[in-house]
Every structure is written in structure tokens, then in C-alpha cells.
């Protein structure tokens, strides 16, 4: 029983981290209909920035802010200068453009930092709180979970309460109508992409604190973002959080009861099942799934 409890705790914490990784991906997909295959590379850039800063004595939770700011600027520029050029082209084109970006970033990171595994060391992240029944809660993961919740709530507040957020939502629902209302779609798209990249950067700093990372992880992060975004559904800012928690729990329980690495297959089986039964995700808006993408 305590083993099950431990797996549940671990699954929830891991789910929070997955949600943080996927939040920006889900936002960009929902608003712009762009699947950003370079998202995992953004996460890694954030991780390496925080790692470099931690080597000169900056705490990763402070480094997280720096990484987020730097990636916001980079994301804004990438959308404005590159992705906006092909945003009206067929699905493949944006997929390939962002894949080219991923190749560029990941191999740039390998050239700069080598392919070795790194991790950000802190005095507190590897400590654990011990609950009843010898159930352990790692402090680093708990903090990362809190950051994930905080960023999701901030995103909801941004989208619902500020003019910028409303402009983002409006552009996502109907770009033509939004432009007629005086919204600068190019700027809004770039802002959205920048916010997505910034959250990825923050997630990278968290990943570096609780786990090891190397440039080879980029594809894995993108794939998790995919699964989480689809699972939770697009068009709802809580979607990524819910999707991440569900995936984290399924994986944690699955690894208790399934042999070998079969648990990974379970994650994808869940993904395909959700797509077939409920393409709009658990709490997504049907509008986004039904959108015909040409």
C-alpha cells in the first residue's frame, strides 16, 4: 500500500514537471496551429542556461527567471523572422521548419556543451521530506511542481484578465476577425511563441534541477509535450496541467505493474485511445479538434 502511495506521489510530482514542459507547446499549438517540434530544444536551452549560471553560483530558481527572459526574446524573434513567413502554408511546412530549428539548436548545443549528461546541483533539491509509512517527497520535485502550478495559474490570469491575453485568445479563435478588430496578429503570434519558449526555458531549469539532461533528450521532451497537449486538450489553459498529471500518474502506476519498458507503450496507447475517442482531449474545446487544417 505504501508502495502504491509512493508511486502516486511520484507520479503527481513528475506529472507537474511534464505539465510545465508541455504548457508552452500546448499554448502555441492552440493559438497558432503550429506544432513546434523545436520545443524540446527550447527546454534544453533553458536547462543549459540555468546550468551555466549555477556554475557561477546562481540558484537555479533564480536562473529559471533569466532563462525564461532570454528564451522569451529568442522565441519572439524566431516567430517574427522565421515562422511567420510560412504560417499560412500546409501542415508539413511548419512541422519541417521547426524540425530544422530543432536540428540547429540540438546540434549547436552538442557543439557547445558536448553530448555528456549534466545536472544542476543544489544543497536542497535532492533532500526528501518523509511522510507516514516511509513515503518520501523529494524537495526539488516538490518545488518544481509548485512552479508548474504557479505558471499555469499565471497563464490563466494572463489570458483571462489582461488585454494582451484576450488578444491572444481572440487571434487563436479567428485570426481574420481579430485583425479586423485592430489586433496586430504578427505581434500577437510572436508574443505567444515567446511566452511558449519562456515557459519551456523555465521548465528546462526545473528539469536540470531534479534530473540529468543532455542534448539527446530534446526529442523525448517534444514527444511528451505532444502527448500531454493532446491528452489535456487545446484551448483550455488548464489542459496541459491535467494532461501532465494524468500522464505522470499513468506512467508511475504502469511502471509498478508492467514488466520492462512496456510502460512507454502504455503512454502512447493512452494517447491514441484519447485521439480516437475524444480528439478534443479531456477538457479541451471541440473547436480546436474540429478545425480543418489545410
Amino acid at each position: 500500500m505504501s508502495q502504491f502511495f509512493q508511486a502516486t506521489i511520484y507520479g503527481l510530482l513528475q506529472g507537474g514537471l511534464l505539465a510545465l514542459i508541455a504548457a508552452g507547446f500546448s499554448l502555441v499549438w492552440g493559438v497558432m496551429n503550429v506544432v513546434n517540434l523545436a520545443h524540446g530544444a527550447f527546454v534544453l536551452v533553458g536547462a543549459y542556461l540555468a546550468w551555466e549560471l549555477s556554475r557561477v553560483g546562481v540558484d537555479p530558481f533564480l536562473g529559471m527567471l533569466v532563462a525564461a527572459l532570454a528564451l522569451f526574446a529568442a522565441g519572439y524573434a524566431i516567430q517574427r523572422l522565421l515562422v511567420n513567413l510560412v504560417v499560412n502554408a500546409p501542415v508539413f511546412i511548419t512541422l519541417l521548419l521547426t524540425f530544422g530549428l530543432e536540428l540547429l539548436l540540438v546540434n549547436g548545443l552538442i557543439l557547445l556543451f558536448s553530448a555528456d549528461y549534466r545536472s544542476i546541483r543544489t544543497s536542497y533539491a535532492s533532500r526528501s521530506l518523509v511522510l507516514a509509512g516511509d513515503v518520501r517527497v523529494p524537495v526539488g520535485r516538490l518545488l518544481a511542481f509548485a512552479v508548474a502550478i504557479g505558471i499555469t495559474l499565471a497563464l490563466v490570469a494572463l489570458v483571462r484578465r489582461t488585454r494582451t491575453g484576450l488578444a491572444i485568445m481572440a487571434t487563436g479563435m479567428d485570426r481574420g476577425a481579430a485583425r479586423l478588430m485592430g489586433i496586430r496578429a504578427r505581434h500577437v503570434y510572436a508574443l505567444t511563441f515567446g511566452i511558449g519558449a519562456a515557459i519551456a526555458g523555465a521548465a528546462g531549469a526545473m528539469v536540470g534541477t531534479v534530473d540529468t539532461f543532455s542534448p539527446a533528450d530534446a526529442g523525448r521532451f517534444t514527444l511528451f509535450s505532444f502527448v500531454v497537449a493532446v491528452l489535456g486538450g487545446l484551448g483550455n489553459m488548464y489542459g496541459a496541467l491535467l494532461g501532465g498529471l494524468v500522464l505522470g500518474l499513468v506512467e508511475a502506476w504502469g511502471s509498478q505493474y508492467l514488466p520492462g519498458t512496456l510502460v512507454n507503450a502504455v503512454a502512447f496507447a493512452v494517447l491514441v485511445a484519447v485521439l480516437i475517442v475524444r480528439p478534443s482531449g479531456l477538457i479541451g474545446r471541440a473547436h480546436y479538434a474540429a478545425r480543418v487544417e489545410v
Partner: protein, 374 residues
């Protein structure tokens, strides 16, 4: 089903091609010129369609030239060129589902991996000859394609891409976790020498010919499909699926059968690749980069055309090989930059760009940016 004329009418601009293509089988190039022919019965006798044998002659010449080239290459070059042939075949197979039908399959590698593993398992465990294992691999891949196509092909756009990607990753995990059949993550070896060998290793010369023939078969299949009624149904689905259905195209059946055909071709190439590698691993045979390369090759060359994927595969594979030899470390980095530039400047592919640029006498690449930017 309505008549061929009615079906093609679902695709504005293709009506005339239907007339031109009824008797002859135009290749990509001929079909493109065929669009200029007047929309009447006389078009079958226009000077353009009389040259319908031209693409076949060019194709035959290229095939003969590839056979002739073999004697001029040393072993290492032979392997490189054989890999180019493999990618020509793979790109062509993806072209059927991604290019003609417009369904962005991002899990195509699953058929490649299944083909390789079927061959390896049959040859290592059941002691079957490679020449029997090869078609069996294609068939198994086709069956798997039909099985996953039925629930997945109703999905559109990114959702289909994600779902197929998920199936590919999931299948890889299942293959990894069946060690008694597949050797698990440690891989499986095909016996190629000694008493266990059911078919002797083909060597560089043999695999050159095998991949060349498989590539030729893929190009031939796509050329035939492209000119057939099925090809027009696929283009109709690509442009407007609802309109195609309303005009009598059985969309589900069409999509599933073309997906199975695409899986069959990919499975054949996977079988040959598995035999060539001798020892295969799930991480290599189900590598998502295979899928991405197929997609890039088709897009750069020209999706939904017969010659486009051939050009794209040859171009990308040679550039990649050149970079690998001259910039060992930075080669994927430069490749990323090339992909970005190619996608922005030539989103519709070399073949379509060349065709429209020739017709309009406008060779500016910036038009593409004007067309798709925000």
C-alpha cells in the same frame, strides 16, 4: 461510384488531366504539360499526349544508367548510392499517403521497422529464405497499416501526425519487450554465413541491385497510381474530402487502401535494410529520423508528383553525405539550416516550383514567401 469524369470533376483543374490520362499513363512531367491540352476528346490526339512514352523512356534510361554506374563505383561509394536508392523508395512510399492524399503520417518508420523485424525473425527463427521473407514483410506492414488506418485515418492534420507518431513509438516499445521473438533492446542477428544461413549475404553489389530494383518498383507503383482512378480520388481527398465523398469517392476505403500500399512498399525496404544491416536494434529500425527524412525529401522535391521525391531523396542524401565527409562535427547543424532555408524558399517543392516558374516566366523565389507569410 460515379464515372471517372464525375470523380475528377471534384478537383477543379484536374478535369482535363482525366481526359488526357484515360488512355495513356502520363508520368509527373507529362501530366503537368497535359494540363495545357484543350478539354475535349481531341486532347487524346494532341501533340502533348503523343509524347506520353517520354517519361517512361527517361525512366528506363535512368534505370539503365544506374545499372551502368555500378561498375564505376568502389565498395564504399556503392553503399552510399544504395542508401540513396533506399531513400528514393521510402520517400516515394510516403508520397502516396503524405503527398497525394495529404495525410501527414509521422509514424511511417513503423512499417520500415516491422518489415526489418519480420525478415529478421523469419530468417533467424523459422529459417525462411530471404526471398520469401521479403514479400511477407511487406504484407505484414500492409496489414498493420490497414489495422491502424481504420481508426486513425478519420483524424485530420496534426492529429493524424501525432497519432501515427504515437503508434510508431508504441510499436517500438512492444518490439523491444518481446525478447524471445525480436531479441529485445539488444537486437537480433540474421544468420548470413554457415549452415544457419538461409540466403547468403548479398554483398555490396547485391544490395546495390536490390535497392535499385525496390526503388524502381516504388517509382513505378506511384506512377501507375498517379495516373489511375485511384490517383484522382487521392488528389480529390487531398483538396476537399467532403466534396470528394459527395461525388462518390469512398474516402475511408480509398485512404485505408493507399495507406496499406504505402506501408507495403515501406515494409519491403525495411526488410532489405534489415538484411543489409545483419544485426538490427529497435532504436535504429524505428528511428523517428527515418520518417522525418522521408517527409523532408518529399517536400523539397515536390509532394504529390512522381519525380519530386526522387529528386528530393537524391539531393538531400548526397548533400548530407558531402557534409558528413567535409564537416564531420557540424554536419547535422548545417543540415538544419538547409532544411529551414529550403522550406521557406521552396515550400511547394522543386518540381512544382520549376513547373510554375517555367509557365509564368517568373523565377523569383520570394513569391512563395509572399504567399504564405502572415
Amino acid at each position: 461510384m460515379t464515372s471517372e469524369r464525375g470523380e475528377a470533376a471534384a478537383v477543379p483543374g484536374l478535369t482535363r488531366r482525366a481526359d488526357a490520362g484515360r488512355d495513356e499513363v502520363p508520368d509527373g512531367g507529362a501530366a503537368r504539360h497535359g494540363g495545357k491540352a484543350p478539354p475535349s476528346a481531341a486532347s487524346t490526339r494532341s501533340p502533348v499526349t503523343q509524347r506520353a512514352w517520354l517519361p517512361w523512356a527517361v525512366g528506363g534510361l535512368v534505370l539503365a544508367a544506374c545499372f551502368g554506374l555500378q561498375s564505376q563505383l568502389y565498395a564504399g561509394q556503392e553503399r552510399t548510392v544504395a542508401t540513396v536508392f533506399m531513400f528514393v523508395g521510402l520517400a516515394q512510399a510516403w508520397n502516396l499517403i503524405g503527398g497525394y492524399t495529404g495525410y501527414a503520417c509521422f509514424g511511417q518508420v513503423v512499417f520500415f521497422g516491422l518489415g526489418g523485424y519480420t525478415t529478421a525473425a523469419l530468417m533467424a527463427h523459422a529459417h525462411v529464405s530471404f526471398w520469401l521473407a521479403l514479400p511477407a514483410s511487406g504484407l505484414l506492414a500492409a496489414i498493420w497499416a490497414a489495422l491502424i488506418g481504420l481508426p486513425l485515418l478519420p483524424l485530420k492534420g496534426h492529429y493524424f501526425a501525432v497519432a501515427t507518431l504515437g503508434v510508431a513509438e508504441g510499436t517500438r516499445e512492444v518490439v523491444t519487450n518481446l525478447p524471445s521473438l525480436t531479441g529485445g533492446g539488444a537486437g537480433i542477428s540474421i544468420p548470413t554465413v554457415g549452415a544457419d544461413a538461409t540466403t547468403g549475404y548479398l554483398g555490396n553489389d547485391g544490395f546495390y541491385v536490390l535497392f535499385l530494383l525496390l526503388a524502381a518498383v516504388s517509382v513505378l507503383v506511384v506512377a501507375i497510381v498517379s495516373a489511375s482512378k485511384l490517383g484522382f480520388a487521392l488528389r480529390a481527398i487531398n483538396q476537399d474530402e467532403d466534396a470528394a465523398a459527395s461525388l462518390g469517392v469512398h474516402t475511408t476505403r480509398t485512404k485505408v487502401s493507399v495507406f496499406a500500399l504505402s506501408g507495403f512498399l515501406t515494409g519491403l525496404l525495411g526488410a532489405a535494410y534489415g538484411f543489409q544491416q545483419v544485426t538490427i536494434f529497435p532504436a535504429r529500425l524505428f528511428d523517428v529520423n527515418f520518417t522525418v527524412l522521408m517527409v523532408i525529401m518529399v517536400i523539397i522535391g515536390g509532394s504529390g508528383t512522381v519525380v519530386g521525391p526522387v529528386i528530393g531523396a537524391a539531393f538531400l542524401q548526397f548533400v548530407s553525405e558531402y557534409l558528413r565527409q567535409h564537416f564531420t562535427e557540424a554536419h547535422p547543424f548545417i543540415l538544419g539550416a538547409i532544411v529551414i532555408v529550403a522550406v521557406i524558399l521552396l515550400p511547394q517543392g522543386v518540381v512544382s516550383y520549376a513547373g510554375s516558374a517555367w509557365r509564368n516566366r517568373d523565377f523569383s523565389l520570394l513569391d512563395n514567401i509572399r504567399k504564405y507569410r502572415l
